[in-house]
Symmetry: C2
Amino acid sequence: MIDYTAPLRDMQFILSELAGLDEIAALPGCEEATPDLVAAILEEAGKFAAGVLAPINRQGDLQGCRLTADGRVVTPDGWQEAYDLFRESGWIGLSAPTEHGGQGLPKLVSTPVWEMWFSTNMAFTMLPQLNVSQAEALQIAASEDQKATWLGKVVSGEWGSTMNLTEPQAGSDLAATRCRAEPAGDGTYKLFGQKIFISYGEHELTPNIVHLVLARLPDAPAGVKGLSLFIVPKYLLDADGNPGAKNDVRCIAIEHKMGIHGSPTCTMSYGDEGGATGWLVGEPNRGLETMFIMMNEARFGVGVQGAGLAERAYQAALAYARERVQGRNALTGEAGLPIIHHPDVKRNLLSMRARVMAMRALLYTAAGWFDVAHHHPDAAQADKCRRYVDLLMPVAKGWCTEIGNEVCDDAIQVFGGMGFVEETGIAQYFRDARIITIYEGTTGIQANDLVGRKILREEGATLRELLADIRGTTAQLAEDPVLVSIGVDLSTHAENLESALDWVLANGKDNLADVLAGAVPFLHLLGTVVGGWQLARAAQAAQRRLAAGEGDGAYLASLVELARFYMAGIAPRALAHAETVREAGGPVSRFSEAAF
Amino acid sequence: MIDYTAPLRDMQFILSELAGLDEIAALPGCEEATPDLVAAILEEAGKFAAGVLAPINRQGDLQGCRLTADGRVVTPDGWQEAYDLFRESGWIGLSAPTEHGGQGLPKLVSTPVWEMWFSTNMAFTMLPQLNVSQAEALQIAASEDQKATWLGKVVSGEWGSTMNLTEPQAGSDLAATRCRAEPAGDGTYKLFGQKIFISYGEHELTPNIVHLVLARLPDAPAGVKGLSLFIVPKYLLDADGNPGAKNDVRCIAIEHKMGIHGSPTCTMSYGDEGGATGWLVGEPNRGLETMFIMMNEARFGVGVQGAGLAERAYQAALAYARERVQGRNALTGEAGLPIIHHPDVKRNLLSMRARVMAMRALLYTAAGWFDVAHHHPDAAQADKCRRYVDLLMPVAKGWCTEIGNEVCDDAIQVFGGMGFVEETGIAQYFRDARIITIYEGTTGIQANDLVGRKILREEGATLRELLADIRGTTAQLAEDPVLVSIGVDLSTHAENLESALDWVLANGKDNLADVLAGAVPFLHLLGTVVGGWQLARAAQAAQRRLAAGEGDGAYLASLVELARFYMAGIAPRALAHAETVREAGGPVSRFSEAAF
């Protein structure tokens, strides 16, 4: 097993210095989030992650899940005990409203906590993560009766949750959904159809599972505007609200996957024996809107998976590089040195750390905006943060998952041959990570969302506002001789971003295909610049504390150096991405499909 | 199974138009390589790859290899039949000298053939690939007696070959080798020690296995100058030269790896029962030099693996993108379209194709230089090509393996969720590919070789010469209005490369650590520019034929467009790499190791 140490110092620095924990704790409804409580929660979560989830991660990979002949799904050893402990500790409801049994803490506080779960056992954590997402959807769309029946059990984790969107012919394209729901005449519905890629669609870790299922009512309009959402429990409830008769839903297959072996990916069949009983959630034909609430929550969570896996891979690579002795010092000829002393390995580790910190800073800052959007009494302030969250959600998902994969890949490279063999455990992170750029919307889908819905639709207004904020930072950096070079670099890359934005806006009407061909590079460009902005802010905060003689000087100085490295080692990608956004669309559009 | 179609048209175009097949066929010793024979060989190889190797690739992944209690290694079903057929068809000796039973064809001809083997079954192909590498080493270093005994069997593939360098404490750092060899007094030696990561170290596909083993003689100097090379057969030969008594060597474990499951990766133990009998190859303490001949051959071959796996992944992604219907046309709203019509998917496929072609053009061109270096009667011409090969060998290995991984990764993205499940087969390419940036010297090792031995040591002379050749191409491109923009872009990136070179040369003495921290980005930079140069040459050749009214106009026009895409979608990375080379070394060197 690869040891895990919760990066509490980095987390705390970003929470306080970049994401505004103090300001958020002062918002109405967030008062619980005192510095002492937050510190205690992070410390406990770190212990739980390292002590409970990390130790069973590898056996989850090795054992995987299996479907028995009688349709049961068996999860890996240790899953049940860990889940019971997780649930009893109240971790699932950390940021759920208190009226539904949650602890009502801001998203800013739950984000680092979930990062630790993902770092230590992503396959396991997908189970409670589904509860969090489903709880969000039910809060918004379910009736009071439905909330009374289902929501408390979902928030507490007493019952499991799933999200049933995908069908064989309907992956990214939910308009092609065929699953159907017929009114049973008693207020319930009968569901029929097959759903694929359903994480934790079947298991026995909880006495019931609440499936949220997208399906079509009779005579529903075609396309996404004809989708309705249903609660379909694994077991129907008896008169006391306890799981009773088995509903007409079953797992008929589980996937053999490259990674996340501990998380069963199920093919679910609804209605083979006359129809699965379900309850309509929200209005007919408005199911997708609700599902997207859940999806947006889940997308942010997947971005956090990127940072979490990358942190773990970085820790593993760092430990290996400090321990593995190989080669000589290229300058002095000194032998017997750990490989961290080789400049290329050191660059690789620094590059991993820079990207992990950039992702984390971006995600926590976005979580803080999310809290401001939901709780700030000043409508303008709240609205600005809501727009920032909307703009950056595809980046939080798309960029952090792509970068998370990169970092896991780099970690293998540090391990060399030992990275390719499974026994060191690092290969698992790399394999597990490969799903995160795909599920909950591929990077291509995120990029189309970014360029189409978030930029073109409003003519780039929010991104201009964000660019003005970035320029605010560069102006401040210019005033400090220690930080001025960071500011110059950030300013250059903000210009690259703006020039790409100008091009996108100028071509969005007449050359939309060209623009969309550059959507993924644009997403990378925005992520690269915003990540750099956050590290520049971190350097600024560190320098401020250094100047005031506060804190750990060596740590703070390293944050300034980290930002300098990012500007030299990562941010220059913005040059390439911006040029590709502007120049590659034409050749892509012109290339004949027959010529491939 | 994913179908494979040998990309004969692309291969032939590059062979004739870029790598100079005609000129090479005119060299003394290469006369066999007539256009007709080459076409026939490629066609036969394509059939063999698609018909024999491709069908057993997935079962090799699923079954893997196993070590039995009595120390035998069992390879996957179909391996024996495929190997027998491969050997009988004479594929192993394709480019070996005729005096040792080979066919004496130029490397330029064998390179596309091996690309096809790697495309269709990399795990299998590693077995005969070891024969080719070992034959090269024996030709150069073995005595006439040794050649008579071993070389013919290696070239024909009657016996298997291995290459035993790595030990637990000696991976990239062969100076730490501990395996020892003691003179037995009868001209043979007794070997003792353990070797790890030995591909095909044990199997029963051939009646004998010839191990080439690095070990230390008594009183050998420390470090790499005390390594000698030994032939250690699995079975000692009887009086008739046939395999007789078992030698004192055994496989004691095989690795559980992320990929190439069909290739057994063995831990070999020598001398547990009194010493494994071996024969010294070449002079004492000069073993590493010989091993490096073999290693350089193997490194080029691993670069070809990158192109081969990428071609296969590209074909698979393209087929899936043409078949999978999902979503609507973003411009017209038209439904029911295959995903290749989505601009992002199309960009991804084009980007895959551009990189595959750039790698292939780079590798074949280098193979052509190799042949000129070995066969050209004009010493200056031969010497120039030898220097080009030396300079670009780390790029052929390092860049093509990194890019090969990227392309396999992108292919998964085209498959979406179906890419993460194992049943489609695309996941296997991604997992198999992950070893190629590691074995035969990691990308970091290649980059250090490039910057240290190939550039600093000669003050960049050969790279300046190569840059002059690139500028020769840009000057020609500037004269054709169709190609002028490609020339302008190539020229820009050549300038980026030269500015990075200048910086490396200026800092190689006083800031070596900074320079080495940028070695991998420098390798990427050089690969990106040279790959672009080759695609620009391809566009030029295509345009020349178009102007002459020859050939398939649509295909030729697509090559011009491909170069334009590369300049817009791939080459801009050179901007980022060059800046990172120049700027990142300082922050890396300054960063305190304690601050990680």
